[in-house]
Symmetry: C2
Subunit: 331 residues, 2 copies
Protein backbone atom coordinates (compact mmCIF):
# COMPACT_ATOMS: atom_id res chain seq x y z
CA UNK A 1 0.00 0.00 0.00
CA UNK A 2 1.13 3.55 -0.69
CA UNK A 3 2.60 5.56 2.15
CA UNK A 4 0.18 6.91 4.70
CA UNK A 5 0.03 10.70 4.93
CA UNK A 6 -1.52 13.08 7.35
CA UNK A 7 -4.34 13.45 4.86
CA UNK A 8 -5.25 9.78 5.07
CA UNK A 9 -5.32 10.02 8.83
CA UNK A 10 -7.57 13.07 8.63
CA UNK A 11 -9.98 11.28 6.35
CA UNK A 12 -10.09 8.21 8.53
CA UNK A 13 -10.69 10.22 11.68
CA UNK A 14 -13.18 12.47 9.94
CA UNK A 15 -11.30 15.69 10.67
CA UNK A 16 -9.19 18.13 8.70
CA UNK A 17 -5.46 17.86 8.16
CA UNK A 18 -4.93 20.89 10.33
CA UNK A 19 -6.45 19.08 13.25
CA UNK A 20 -4.25 16.06 12.77
CA UNK A 21 -1.24 18.31 12.72
CA UNK A 22 -2.44 19.91 15.91
CA UNK A 23 -2.81 16.54 17.60
CA UNK A 24 0.78 15.87 16.62
CA UNK A 25 2.23 19.19 17.66
CA UNK A 26 -0.09 20.99 20.07
CA UNK A 27 -2.39 18.32 21.44
CA UNK A 28 -3.73 20.68 24.10
CA UNK A 29 -5.53 22.69 21.44
CA UNK A 30 -7.62 19.69 20.49
CA UNK A 31 -10.67 18.36 22.35
CA UNK A 32 -10.11 15.11 24.18
CA UNK A 33 -12.52 13.08 22.06
CA UNK A 34 -11.14 14.30 18.74
CA UNK A 35 -7.62 13.76 19.93
CA UNK A 36 -8.30 10.15 20.76
CA UNK A 37 -10.06 9.56 17.48
CA UNK A 38 -7.08 10.92 15.59
CA UNK A 39 -4.64 8.92 17.67
CA UNK A 40 -6.63 5.78 16.94
CA UNK A 41 -6.56 6.51 13.23
CA UNK A 42 -2.81 7.03 13.40
CA UNK A 43 -2.40 3.68 15.06
CA UNK A 44 -4.67 1.80 12.70
CA UNK A 45 -3.06 3.22 9.59
CA UNK A 46 0.47 2.99 10.91
CA UNK A 47 1.11 6.61 10.10
CA UNK A 48 4.68 7.83 10.41
CA UNK A 49 5.51 11.51 10.16
CA UNK A 50 7.42 12.51 7.07
CA UNK A 51 10.34 14.40 8.51
CA UNK A 52 11.31 15.82 5.13
CA UNK A 53 8.00 17.57 4.69
CA UNK A 54 8.02 18.77 8.26
CA UNK A 55 11.50 20.14 7.93
CA UNK A 56 10.83 21.73 4.58
CA UNK A 57 7.90 23.62 5.94
CA UNK A 58 9.53 24.59 9.21
CA UNK A 59 12.72 25.72 7.61
CA UNK A 60 14.86 24.36 10.40
CA UNK A 61 15.63 20.86 11.62
CA UNK A 62 16.09 19.29 15.02
CA UNK A 63 19.28 17.67 13.91
CA UNK A 64 22.94 18.33 14.58
CA UNK A 65 25.80 16.96 12.53
CA UNK A 66 28.93 15.59 14.16
CA UNK A 67 32.08 15.16 12.11
CA UNK A 68 34.92 13.26 13.72
CA UNK A 69 38.08 11.68 12.43
CA UNK A 70 37.18 8.12 13.22
CA UNK A 71 34.91 6.06 15.35
CA UNK A 72 37.68 3.55 15.84
CA UNK A 73 39.49 4.92 18.84
CA UNK A 74 37.84 3.49 21.93
CA UNK A 75 38.36 6.89 23.48
CA UNK A 76 35.69 8.11 21.18
CA UNK A 77 32.76 6.08 22.41
CA UNK A 78 32.26 7.99 25.63
CA UNK A 79 32.40 11.25 23.79
CA UNK A 80 29.73 10.06 21.39
CA UNK A 81 27.50 8.87 24.17
CA UNK A 82 27.90 12.14 26.04
CA UNK A 83 27.04 14.18 22.99
CA UNK A 84 24.07 12.06 22.03
CA UNK A 85 22.70 12.14 25.56
CA UNK A 86 22.87 15.91 25.70
CA UNK A 87 21.20 16.27 22.33
CA UNK A 88 18.37 13.89 23.13
CA UNK A 89 17.76 15.81 26.32
CA UNK A 90 17.14 18.88 24.23
CA UNK A 91 15.09 17.09 21.61
CA UNK A 92 17.80 16.97 18.99
CA UNK A 93 19.12 14.05 17.00
CA UNK A 94 22.67 13.47 15.83
CA UNK A 95 23.96 12.70 12.36
CA UNK A 96 27.38 11.05 12.60
CA UNK A 97 30.01 11.41 9.92
CA UNK A 98 33.64 10.35 9.81
CA UNK A 99 36.29 12.24 7.93
CA UNK A 100 38.88 9.46 8.25
CA UNK A 101 41.42 12.21 8.61
CA UNK A 102 40.96 13.25 4.99
CA UNK A 103 40.18 16.83 4.06
CA UNK A 104 38.26 15.66 1.02
CA UNK A 105 36.03 13.34 3.02
CA UNK A 106 35.52 16.09 5.54
CA UNK A 107 34.28 18.36 2.79
CA UNK A 108 31.88 15.69 1.61
CA UNK A 109 30.58 15.25 5.14
CA UNK A 110 29.90 18.94 5.46
CA UNK A 111 28.20 19.08 2.07
CA UNK A 112 26.00 16.20 3.11
CA UNK A 113 25.10 17.87 6.38
CA UNK A 114 24.36 21.17 4.72
CA UNK A 115 22.04 19.50 2.24
CA UNK A 116 20.29 17.85 5.15
CA UNK A 117 19.85 21.32 6.62
CA UNK A 118 21.15 20.37 10.03
CA UNK A 119 20.87 23.25 12.39
CA UNK A 120 24.44 22.94 13.61
CA UNK A 121 27.70 21.10 13.28
CA UNK A 122 30.15 19.79 15.83
CA UNK A 123 33.45 19.15 14.19
CA UNK A 124 37.02 18.12 14.80
CA UNK A 125 38.51 19.91 11.84
CA UNK A 126 41.17 18.27 9.75
CA UNK A 127 41.45 20.37 6.61
CA UNK A 128 38.98 23.04 7.53
CA UNK A 129 39.86 26.63 6.76
CA UNK A 130 38.36 29.71 8.33
CA UNK A 131 36.60 30.44 5.04
CA UNK A 132 34.50 27.31 5.05
CA UNK A 133 33.60 27.86 8.67
CA UNK A 134 32.49 31.40 7.93
CA UNK A 135 30.40 30.02 5.09
CA UNK A 136 28.67 27.62 7.43
CA UNK A 137 27.97 30.35 9.91
CA UNK A 138 26.65 32.64 7.20
CA UNK A 139 24.15 29.99 6.28
CA UNK A 140 22.92 30.13 9.83
CA UNK A 141 24.50 26.93 11.13
CA UNK A 142 25.87 26.89 14.61
CA UNK A 143 29.41 25.59 14.62
CA UNK A 144 31.24 24.05 17.55
CA UNK A 145 34.87 23.15 17.13
CA UNK A 146 35.83 20.07 19.07
CA UNK A 147 39.24 19.45 20.59
CA UNK A 148 40.87 22.33 18.75
CA UNK A 149 41.55 25.87 19.88
CA UNK A 150 38.91 28.43 19.11
CA UNK A 151 38.60 29.75 15.62
CA UNK A 152 37.27 33.23 15.18
CA UNK A 153 33.58 33.54 15.69
CA UNK A 154 32.72 30.01 16.74
CA UNK A 155 32.35 28.15 19.98
CA UNK A 156 34.95 25.59 20.84
CA UNK A 157 35.49 23.01 23.49
CA UNK A 158 38.72 21.17 24.07
CA UNK A 159 40.87 19.49 26.65
CA UNK A 160 43.93 21.38 27.86
CA UNK A 161 46.45 18.98 26.39
CA UNK A 162 49.42 21.20 27.23
CA UNK A 163 48.53 20.73 30.87
CA UNK A 164 48.01 17.04 30.19
CA UNK A 165 51.50 16.65 28.79
CA UNK A 166 52.85 18.58 31.76
CA UNK A 167 51.29 16.50 34.50
CA UNK A 168 52.42 13.33 32.75
CA UNK A 169 56.02 14.46 32.58
CA UNK A 170 55.93 16.08 36.02
CA UNK A 171 55.09 12.66 37.35
CA UNK A 172 58.07 11.14 35.52
CA UNK A 173 60.62 13.80 36.45
CA UNK A 174 60.01 13.23 40.14
CA UNK A 175 62.03 10.02 39.74
CA UNK A 176 63.70 10.13 36.34
CA UNK A 177 66.41 12.22 34.69
CA UNK A 178 66.53 10.60 31.25
CA UNK A 179 63.27 10.78 29.33
CA UNK A 180 61.82 9.78 26.00
CA UNK A 181 58.66 11.10 24.47
CA UNK A 182 56.85 8.87 22.01
CA UNK A 183 54.36 10.66 19.83
CA UNK A 184 52.51 10.46 16.54
CA UNK A 185 52.97 12.90 13.67
CA UNK A 186 53.25 16.41 15.11
CA UNK A 187 50.39 17.75 13.09
CA UNK A 188 47.10 17.54 14.93
CA UNK A 189 46.75 20.10 17.67
CA UNK A 190 45.99 17.75 20.57
CA UNK A 191 49.19 15.87 19.81
CA UNK A 192 51.42 18.90 19.39
CA UNK A 193 49.98 20.35 22.58
CA UNK A 194 50.75 17.23 24.57
CA UNK A 195 54.24 17.24 23.15
CA UNK A 196 54.76 20.89 23.91
CA UNK A 197 53.54 20.48 27.47
CA UNK A 198 55.73 17.44 27.96
CA UNK A 199 58.85 19.15 26.68
CA UNK A 200 58.19 22.27 28.72
CA UNK A 201 57.74 20.24 31.88
CA UNK A 202 60.95 18.32 31.23
CA UNK A 203 62.94 21.52 30.72
CA UNK A 204 61.43 23.11 33.77
CA UNK A 205 62.46 20.08 35.80
CA UNK A 206 66.00 20.49 34.56
CA UNK A 207 66.21 17.47 32.30
CA UNK A 208 69.28 17.89 30.08
CA UNK A 209 68.68 18.36 26.36
CA UNK A 210 70.71 15.30 25.47
CA UNK A 211 68.64 13.24 27.87
CA UNK A 212 65.34 14.15 26.32
CA UNK A 213 64.66 12.07 23.21
CA UNK A 214 61.66 12.38 20.96
CA UNK A 215 60.46 9.39 18.95
CA UNK A 216 57.95 10.37 16.30
CA UNK A 217 55.88 7.45 15.03
CA UNK A 218 53.67 7.25 11.99
CA UNK A 219 50.45 6.85 13.90
CA UNK A 220 49.04 6.26 17.36
CA UNK A 221 48.47 2.52 17.25
CA UNK A 222 49.87 -0.27 19.44
CA UNK A 223 51.82 -1.47 16.43
CA UNK A 224 53.61 1.88 16.34
CA UNK A 225 54.18 1.53 20.05
CA UNK A 226 56.04 -1.72 19.49
CA UNK A 227 58.11 -0.09 16.81
CA UNK A 228 58.90 2.74 19.22
CA UNK A 229 60.12 0.22 21.80
CA UNK A 230 62.60 -1.12 19.28
CA UNK A 231 63.92 2.37 18.62
CA UNK A 232 63.95 3.17 22.30
CA UNK A 233 66.15 0.22 23.19
CA UNK A 234 68.79 1.40 20.74
CA UNK A 235 69.32 4.61 22.69
CA UNK A 236 72.42 4.95 24.81
CA UNK A 237 72.13 5.76 27.62
CA UNK A 238 68.69 4.21 27.93
CA UNK A 239 65.97 6.60 29.08
CA UNK A 240 64.24 5.41 32.22
CA UNK A 241 61.03 7.36 31.85
CA UNK A 242 58.78 7.37 28.78
CA UNK A 243 55.73 9.46 27.99
CA UNK A 244 53.47 8.20 25.20
CA UNK A 245 51.03 10.49 23.46
CA UNK A 246 48.22 8.00 23.88
CA UNK A 247 47.39 4.73 25.58
CA UNK A 248 47.43 2.55 22.48
CA UNK A 249 51.02 3.60 21.82
CA UNK A 250 51.88 3.03 25.46
CA UNK A 251 50.33 -0.41 25.53
CA UNK A 252 52.20 -1.49 22.41
CA UNK A 253 55.42 -0.09 23.84
CA UNK A 254 55.06 -1.73 27.23
CA UNK A 255 54.14 -5.05 25.69
CA UNK A 256 57.16 -4.94 23.40
CA UNK A 257 59.42 -4.07 26.33
CA UNK A 258 58.05 -6.95 28.36
CA UNK A 259 58.54 -9.34 25.46
CA UNK A 260 62.19 -8.28 25.35
CA UNK A 261 62.54 -8.89 29.05
CA UNK A 262 62.73 -5.24 30.10
CA UNK A 263 60.89 -4.74 33.38
CA UNK A 264 58.22 -2.06 33.67
CA UNK A 265 58.33 0.06 35.78
CA UNK A 266 61.53 -1.19 37.42
CA UNK A 267 63.79 -0.54 34.44
CA UNK A 268 61.62 1.78 32.39
CA UNK A 269 58.59 3.73 33.57
CA UNK A 270 55.80 4.55 31.15
CA UNK A 271 52.97 7.07 31.22
CA UNK A 272 50.17 6.99 28.66
CA UNK A 273 47.34 9.33 27.71
CA UNK A 274 43.55 8.88 27.43
CA UNK A 275 42.78 6.32 30.12
CA UNK A 276 40.96 3.89 27.90
CA UNK A 277 39.67 0.75 29.58
CA UNK A 278 42.64 -1.28 28.38
CA UNK A 279 44.96 0.96 30.36
CA UNK A 280 43.71 -0.56 33.58
CA UNK A 281 43.70 -4.12 32.32
CA UNK A 282 47.10 -4.41 30.70
CA UNK A 283 49.72 -6.65 32.24
CA UNK A 284 51.28 -3.71 34.00
CA UNK A 285 48.40 -1.37 34.80
CA UNK A 286 49.13 1.82 32.97
CA UNK A 287 49.62 5.19 34.61
CA UNK A 288 47.94 7.64 32.32
CA UNK A 289 46.26 11.00 31.82
CA UNK A 290 42.49 10.89 31.89
CA UNK A 291 40.39 13.09 29.67
CA UNK A 292 36.84 13.99 30.67
CA UNK A 293 35.47 12.42 27.51
CA UNK A 294 31.84 12.18 28.38
CA UNK A 295 31.81 15.77 29.57
CA UNK A 296 33.60 16.84 26.42
CA UNK A 297 30.90 15.35 24.24
CA UNK A 298 28.08 16.55 26.45
CA UNK A 299 29.32 20.11 26.58
CA UNK A 300 29.99 20.26 22.85
CA UNK A 301 26.39 19.26 22.23
CA UNK A 302 25.10 21.76 24.77
CA UNK A 303 27.02 24.56 23.11
CA UNK A 304 25.70 23.61 19.70
CA UNK A 305 22.13 23.38 20.92
CA UNK A 306 22.37 26.68 22.75
CA UNK A 307 23.65 28.48 19.71
CA UNK A 308 21.12 26.82 17.43
CA UNK A 309 18.41 28.11 19.73
CA UNK A 310 19.37 31.77 19.89
CA UNK A 311 18.30 33.69 16.85
CA UNK A 312 20.88 36.44 16.71
CA UNK A 313 23.36 37.83 19.19
CA UNK A 314 25.24 34.81 20.44
CA UNK A 315 28.31 35.00 22.61
CA UNK A 316 30.89 32.53 21.33
CA UNK A 317 32.77 30.67 24.00
CA UNK A 318 36.04 28.80 23.98
CA UNK A 319 36.08 26.23 26.76
CA UNK A 320 38.96 24.06 27.92
CA UNK A 321 38.53 21.10 30.26
CA UNK A 322 41.28 19.85 32.52
CA UNK A 323 42.76 16.37 32.30
CA UNK A 324 43.95 14.52 35.39
CA UNK A 325 46.63 11.99 36.22
CA UNK A 326 45.64 8.41 37.03
CA UNK A 327 48.50 6.70 38.82
CA UNK A 328 48.71 2.95 38.41
CA UNK A 329 51.81 0.79 38.27
CA UNK A 330 53.65 1.54 35.06
CA UNK A 331 55.16 4.73 36.47
Amino acid sequence: MPPVSIRDVAMRAGVSVGTVSNVLNRPNLVAEATRERVRAAIGELGFVRNESARQLRQGRSRTLGVVVESLGNPYFTDLARGAEAAMNTDGFDALWCTSDGSAAKERRCLDFLEEQRVSGVIITPVGLDAGRIAELRDRGLSVVVLDRRAYDGVCSIRVDHVAGGEIAVDHLTSRHRRLAIVTGPLVAEPITDRYEGAVAAARRAGVAEEHLTTLVQGDLTPTSGMEAARRLLELDPLPTGVFCANDLLAIGLVNALLRTGVKVPEEISVVGYDDIELAGTSVVPLTTVRQPRHELGWTAAELAVAEAGTAEGHEHRGLALSPSLVVRESA
Copy 2:
Protein backbone atom coordinates in the same frame (compact mmCIF):
# COMPACT_ATOMS: atom_id res chain seq x y z
CA MET B 1 20.76 36.63 4.27
CA PRO B 2 17.89 34.21 3.80
CA PRO B 3 18.63 30.76 2.43
CA VAL B 4 19.29 30.55 -1.29
CA SER B 5 16.82 28.47 -3.24
CA ILE B 6 16.76 27.11 -6.72
CA ARG B 7 14.47 29.98 -7.59
CA ASP B 8 17.10 32.55 -6.68
CA VAL B 9 19.59 30.73 -8.85
CA ALA B 10 17.14 30.69 -11.73
CA MET B 11 16.54 34.41 -11.42
CA ARG B 12 20.24 35.16 -11.28
CA ALA B 13 21.02 33.01 -14.29
CA GLY B 14 17.99 34.29 -16.18
CA VAL B 15 16.41 30.89 -16.66
CA SER B 16 13.48 28.96 -15.20
CA VAL B 17 13.64 26.80 -12.12
CA GLY B 18 13.08 23.74 -14.27
CA THR B 19 16.29 24.43 -16.10
CA VAL B 20 18.27 24.82 -12.91
CA SER B 21 16.91 21.51 -11.74
CA ASN B 22 17.96 19.98 -15.02
CA VAL B 23 21.48 21.31 -14.65
CA LEU B 24 21.56 19.66 -11.27
CA ASN B 25 20.10 16.33 -12.28
CA ARG B 26 20.33 15.82 -16.03
CA PRO B 27 22.98 18.25 -17.23
CA ASN B 28 23.10 16.66 -20.65
CA LEU B 29 19.64 18.01 -21.43
CA VAL B 30 20.88 21.56 -21.05
CA ALA B 31 22.82 23.55 -23.63
CA GLU B 32 26.45 24.11 -22.79
CA ALA B 33 26.18 27.89 -22.46
CA THR B 34 23.11 27.80 -20.23
CA ARG B 35 24.65 25.11 -18.09
CA GLU B 36 27.70 27.21 -17.42
CA ARG B 37 25.62 30.26 -16.67
CA VAL B 38 23.61 28.33 -14.12
CA ARG B 39 26.72 26.79 -12.58
CA ALA B 40 28.19 30.25 -12.22
CA ALA B 41 25.06 31.51 -10.51
CA ILE B 42 25.13 28.55 -8.14
CA GLY B 43 28.70 29.34 -7.23
CA GLU B 44 28.13 33.05 -6.76
CA LEU B 45 25.11 32.60 -4.56
CA GLY B 46 26.50 29.64 -2.67
CA PHE B 47 23.42 27.57 -3.38
CA VAL B 48 23.10 24.26 -1.56
CA ARG B 49 20.43 21.77 -2.49
CA ASN B 50 17.69 21.30 0.07
CA GLU B 51 17.64 17.57 0.51
CA SER B 52 14.35 17.66 2.37
CA ALA B 53 12.53 19.19 -0.54
CA ARG B 54 14.21 16.88 -2.99
CA GLN B 55 13.32 13.88 -0.95
CA LEU B 56 9.78 15.01 -0.37
CA ARG B 57 9.19 15.39 -4.04
CA GLN B 58 10.96 12.20 -5.07
CA GLY B 59 9.28 10.12 -2.45
CA ARG B 60 12.38 8.08 -1.81
CA SER B 61 15.79 8.94 -0.40
CA ARG B 62 19.31 7.91 -1.22
CA THR B 63 19.97 7.10 2.38
CA LEU B 64 20.30 3.86 4.31
CA GLY B 65 20.05 3.55 8.06
CA VAL B 66 22.43 1.37 10.02
CA VAL B 67 21.54 0.34 13.55
CA VAL B 68 24.27 -1.34 15.56
CA GLU B 69 24.72 -2.10 19.21
CA SER B 70 27.69 0.11 19.80
CA LEU B 71 30.46 1.86 17.98
CA GLY B 72 32.81 1.05 20.83
CA ASN B 73 34.13 -2.33 19.87
CA PRO B 74 37.17 -1.79 17.67
CA TYR B 75 35.93 -4.73 15.68
CA PHE B 76 33.22 -2.47 14.46
CA THR B 77 35.29 0.12 12.64
CA ASP B 78 36.19 -2.05 9.69
CA LEU B 79 32.60 -3.09 9.29
CA ALA B 80 31.51 0.53 9.22
CA ARG B 81 34.13 1.45 6.69
CA GLY B 82 33.19 -1.46 4.48
CA ALA B 83 29.52 -0.58 4.58
CA GLU B 84 30.08 3.09 3.94
CA ALA B 85 32.42 2.39 1.04
CA ALA B 86 29.87 0.15 -0.62
CA MET B 87 27.08 2.67 -0.15
CA ASN B 88 29.08 5.57 -1.51
CA THR B 89 29.94 3.48 -4.55
CA ASP B 90 26.25 3.19 -5.26
CA GLY B 91 25.48 6.81 -4.47
CA PHE B 92 23.94 6.18 -1.09
CA ASP B 93 24.68 7.77 2.25
CA ALA B 94 24.57 6.14 5.66
CA LEU B 95 22.76 7.25 8.79
CA TRP B 96 24.38 5.65 11.84
CA CYS B 97 22.45 4.84 14.98
CA THR B 98 23.44 2.93 18.08
CA SER B 99 21.00 0.90 20.11
CA ASP B 100 23.40 0.47 23.05
CA GLY B 101 21.92 -2.98 23.39
CA SER B 102 18.60 -1.57 24.55
CA ALA B 103 15.38 -2.56 22.86
CA ALA B 104 13.88 0.84 23.67
CA LYS B 105 16.72 2.75 22.08
CA GLU B 106 16.54 0.43 19.10
CA ARG B 107 12.90 1.31 18.66
CA ARG B 108 13.71 4.99 18.81
CA CYS B 109 16.42 4.55 16.22
CA LEU B 110 14.00 2.83 13.87
CA ASP B 111 11.36 5.48 14.43
CA PHE B 112 13.92 8.14 13.62
CA LEU B 113 15.00 6.35 10.46
CA GLU B 114 11.43 5.83 9.34
CA GLU B 115 10.64 9.49 9.78
CA GLN B 116 13.72 10.29 7.73
CA ARG B 117 12.29 8.00 5.06
CA VAL B 118 15.50 6.07 4.56
CA SER B 119 15.12 3.61 1.78
CA GLY B 120 16.52 0.74 3.77
CA VAL B 121 17.84 -0.39 7.11
CA ILE B 122 20.78 -2.56 8.06
CA ILE B 123 20.33 -3.76 11.59
CA THR B 124 21.80 -5.97 14.24
CA PRO B 125 18.56 -6.65 16.09
CA VAL B 126 18.47 -6.65 19.83
CA GLY B 127 14.82 -6.56 20.77
CA LEU B 128 13.38 -6.71 17.30
CA ASP B 129 10.41 -8.97 16.70
CA ALA B 130 9.24 -10.32 13.37
CA GLY B 131 6.23 -7.99 13.57
CA ARG B 132 8.25 -4.81 13.50
CA ILE B 133 10.36 -6.13 10.68
CA ALA B 134 7.27 -6.95 8.68
CA GLU B 135 6.03 -3.44 9.34
CA LEU B 136 9.22 -1.98 7.97
CA ARG B 137 9.01 -4.12 4.89
CA ASP B 138 5.38 -3.21 4.36
CA ARG B 139 6.36 0.42 4.31
CA GLY B 140 8.68 -0.41 1.45
CA LEU B 141 11.95 -0.37 3.34
CA SER B 142 14.56 -2.90 2.45
CA VAL B 143 15.79 -4.65 5.55
CA VAL B 144 19.10 -6.43 5.97
CA VAL B 145 19.74 -8.29 9.19
CA LEU B 146 23.36 -8.16 10.23
CA ASP B 147 25.17 -10.89 12.11
CA ARG B 148 21.98 -12.78 12.92
CA ARG B 149 20.34 -15.69 11.17
CA ALA B 150 17.77 -14.91 8.53
CA TYR B 151 14.35 -13.80 9.61
CA ASP B 152 11.50 -14.59 7.29
CA GLY B 153 11.34 -12.40 4.27
CA VAL B 154 14.47 -10.35 4.72
CA CYS B 155 18.05 -10.56 3.57
CA SER B 156 20.66 -11.38 6.12
CA ILE B 157 24.41 -11.56 6.27
CA ARG B 158 26.37 -13.06 9.08
CA VAL B 159 29.55 -14.83 10.00
CA ASP B 160 29.34 -18.55 10.64
CA HIS B 161 30.17 -18.35 14.32
CA VAL B 162 29.44 -22.00 14.95
CA ALA B 163 32.28 -22.80 12.58
CA GLY B 164 34.35 -20.11 14.28
CA GLY B 165 33.91 -21.72 17.68
CA GLU B 166 34.77 -25.07 16.17
CA ILE B 167 38.04 -24.08 14.56
CA ALA B 168 39.11 -22.35 17.75
CA VAL B 169 38.48 -25.41 19.88
CA ASP B 170 39.77 -27.82 17.23
CA HIS B 171 43.04 -25.96 17.50
CA LEU B 172 43.05 -26.39 21.27
CA THR B 173 42.05 -30.06 21.37
CA SER B 174 45.00 -31.00 19.23
CA ARG B 175 47.14 -30.50 22.36
CA HIS B 176 44.79 -30.16 25.31
CA ARG B 177 42.38 -32.44 27.12
CA ARG B 178 41.07 -30.07 29.78
CA LEU B 179 39.32 -27.00 28.44
CA ALA B 180 37.55 -23.89 29.65
CA ILE B 181 35.27 -21.69 27.61
CA VAL B 182 34.95 -18.06 28.66
CA THR B 183 31.95 -16.28 27.25
CA GLY B 184 29.62 -13.35 27.76
CA PRO B 185 25.91 -13.70 28.51
CA LEU B 186 24.49 -16.48 26.34
CA VAL B 187 21.89 -14.27 24.77
CA ALA B 188 23.10 -12.73 21.55
CA GLU B 189 23.22 -15.15 18.68
CA PRO B 190 26.86 -14.66 17.67
CA ILE B 191 27.89 -15.52 21.21
CA THR B 192 25.65 -18.54 21.63
CA ASP B 193 26.78 -19.81 18.22
CA ARG B 194 30.44 -19.55 19.15
CA TYR B 195 29.69 -21.35 22.36
CA GLU B 196 27.73 -24.05 20.65
CA GLY B 197 30.45 -24.60 18.07
CA ALA B 198 33.09 -24.71 20.75
CA VAL B 199 31.23 -27.25 22.87
CA ALA B 200 30.45 -29.41 19.86
CA ALA B 201 34.08 -29.43 18.80
CA ALA B 202 35.20 -30.34 22.31
CA ARG B 203 32.76 -33.25 22.49
CA ARG B 204 33.69 -34.46 19.08
CA ALA B 205 37.34 -34.46 20.12
CA GLY B 206 36.46 -36.60 23.10
CA VAL B 207 36.98 -34.05 25.85
CA ALA B 208 35.35 -35.42 29.02
CA GLU B 209 32.34 -33.54 30.36
CA GLU B 210 34.03 -32.90 33.67
CA HIS B 211 37.02 -31.41 31.87
CA LEU B 212 34.99 -28.88 29.95
CA THR B 213 34.19 -25.84 32.09
CA THR B 214 32.14 -22.85 31.02
CA LEU B 215 32.71 -19.45 32.62
CA VAL B 216 29.95 -17.00 31.79
CA GLN B 217 30.93 -13.38 32.35
CA GLY B 218 28.70 -10.32 32.49
CA ASP B 219 30.12 -8.73 29.37
CA LEU B 220 32.87 -9.02 26.79
CA THR B 221 35.38 -6.52 28.18
CA PRO B 222 38.98 -7.00 29.28
CA THR B 223 37.85 -6.33 32.83
CA SER B 224 35.58 -9.36 32.62
CA GLY B 225 38.50 -11.28 31.18
CA MET B 226 40.54 -10.55 34.30
CA GLU B 227 37.65 -11.66 36.44
CA ALA B 228 37.45 -14.86 34.42
CA ALA B 229 41.12 -15.52 35.06
CA ARG B 230 40.49 -15.39 38.76
CA ARG B 231 37.67 -17.90 38.47
CA LEU B 232 39.72 -20.05 36.15
CA LEU B 233 42.59 -20.39 38.61
CA GLU B 234 40.23 -21.75 41.22
CA LEU B 235 39.43 -24.77 39.08
CA ASP B 236 40.91 -28.10 39.98
CA PRO B 237 42.31 -29.64 37.94
CA LEU B 238 43.35 -26.54 36.04
CA PRO B 239 42.29 -26.48 32.40
CA THR B 240 45.22 -26.08 30.03
CA GLY B 241 43.32 -24.70 27.07
CA VAL B 242 40.96 -21.72 27.11
CA PHE B 243 38.70 -20.36 24.40
CA CYS B 244 37.42 -16.79 24.88
CA ALA B 245 34.38 -15.54 23.03
CA ASN B 246 36.20 -12.39 21.95
CA ASP B 247 39.65 -10.83 21.95
CA LEU B 248 38.99 -8.24 24.64
CA LEU B 249 38.07 -11.00 27.06
CA ALA B 250 41.10 -12.99 25.99
CA ILE B 251 43.45 -10.05 26.43
CA GLY B 252 42.15 -9.34 29.92
CA LEU B 253 42.42 -13.01 30.80
CA VAL B 254 45.94 -13.44 29.47
CA ASN B 255 47.12 -10.27 31.19
CA ALA B 256 45.66 -11.40 34.50
CA LEU B 257 47.29 -14.80 34.14
CA LEU B 258 50.65 -13.23 33.39
CA ARG B 259 50.31 -10.92 36.38
CA THR B 260 49.77 -14.00 38.54
CA GLY B 261 52.84 -15.63 37.09
CA VAL B 262 51.05 -18.21 34.98
CA LYS B 263 52.89 -18.72 31.70
CA VAL B 264 50.98 -18.45 28.44
CA PRO B 265 51.01 -20.63 26.42
CA GLU B 266 53.32 -22.98 28.38
CA GLU B 267 50.92 -23.54 31.27
CA ILE B 268 47.67 -22.34 29.76
CA SER B 269 46.90 -21.82 26.09
CA VAL B 270 44.39 -19.19 25.03
CA VAL B 271 42.46 -18.62 21.83
CA GLY B 272 40.46 -15.43 21.24
CA TYR B 273 37.93 -14.29 18.66
CA ASP B 274 37.75 -11.24 16.34
CA ASP B 275 41.40 -10.57 15.53
CA ILE B 276 41.39 -6.93 16.53
CA GLU B 277 44.68 -5.10 16.18
CA LEU B 278 45.48 -5.52 19.86
CA ALA B 279 45.50 -9.29 19.42
CA GLY B 280 48.75 -9.07 17.52
CA THR B 281 50.35 -6.54 19.82
CA SER B 282 49.68 -8.01 23.25
CA VAL B 283 52.55 -9.35 25.31
CA VAL B 284 51.85 -12.84 24.10
CA PRO B 285 50.56 -12.47 20.56
CA LEU B 286 47.09 -13.88 20.58
CA THR B 287 45.92 -16.82 18.51
CA THR B 288 42.43 -15.91 17.42
CA VAL B 289 39.59 -16.33 14.95
CA ARG B 290 39.43 -13.66 12.29
CA GLN B 291 36.14 -12.38 10.98
CA PRO B 292 35.91 -10.85 7.51
CA ARG B 293 34.69 -7.58 8.94
CA HIS B 294 35.15 -5.31 5.99
CA GLU B 295 33.48 -7.81 3.69
CA LEU B 296 30.64 -8.19 6.17
CA GLY B 297 29.90 -4.48 6.10
CA TRP B 298 30.40 -4.18 2.38
CA THR B 299 28.10 -7.08 1.56
CA ALA B 300 25.41 -5.90 3.96
CA ALA B 301 25.36 -2.56 2.20
CA GLU B 302 25.31 -4.21 -1.21
CA LEU B 303 22.32 -6.32 -0.23
CA ALA B 304 20.46 -3.30 1.08
CA VAL B 305 21.18 -1.24 -1.99
CA ALA B 306 20.19 -4.05 -4.31
CA GLU B 307 16.87 -4.55 -2.59
CA ALA B 308 16.22 -0.81 -2.41
CA GLY B 309 16.71 -0.67 -6.15
CA THR B 310 14.35 -3.43 -7.24
CA ALA B 311 10.73 -2.37 -7.22
CA GLU B 312 8.93 -5.62 -6.58
CA GLY B 313 9.98 -9.23 -6.86
CA HIS B 314 13.12 -9.46 -4.77
CA GLU B 315 14.79 -12.69 -3.85
CA HIS B 316 15.82 -12.57 -0.19
CA ARG B 317 19.18 -14.06 0.56
CA GLY B 318 20.74 -15.34 3.73
CA LEU B 319 24.53 -15.22 3.45
CA ALA B 320 27.11 -16.59 5.87
CA LEU B 321 30.80 -15.73 5.67
CA SER B 322 33.50 -18.02 6.99
CA PRO B 323 35.88 -17.05 9.75
CA SER B 324 39.48 -18.30 9.80
CA LEU B 325 42.05 -19.17 12.42
CA VAL B 326 45.05 -16.90 12.92
CA VAL B 327 47.74 -18.79 14.78
CA ARG B 328 50.10 -16.70 16.87
CA GLU B 329 51.77 -17.65 20.13
CA SER B 330 49.11 -17.85 22.82
CA ALA B 331 47.97 -21.30 21.66
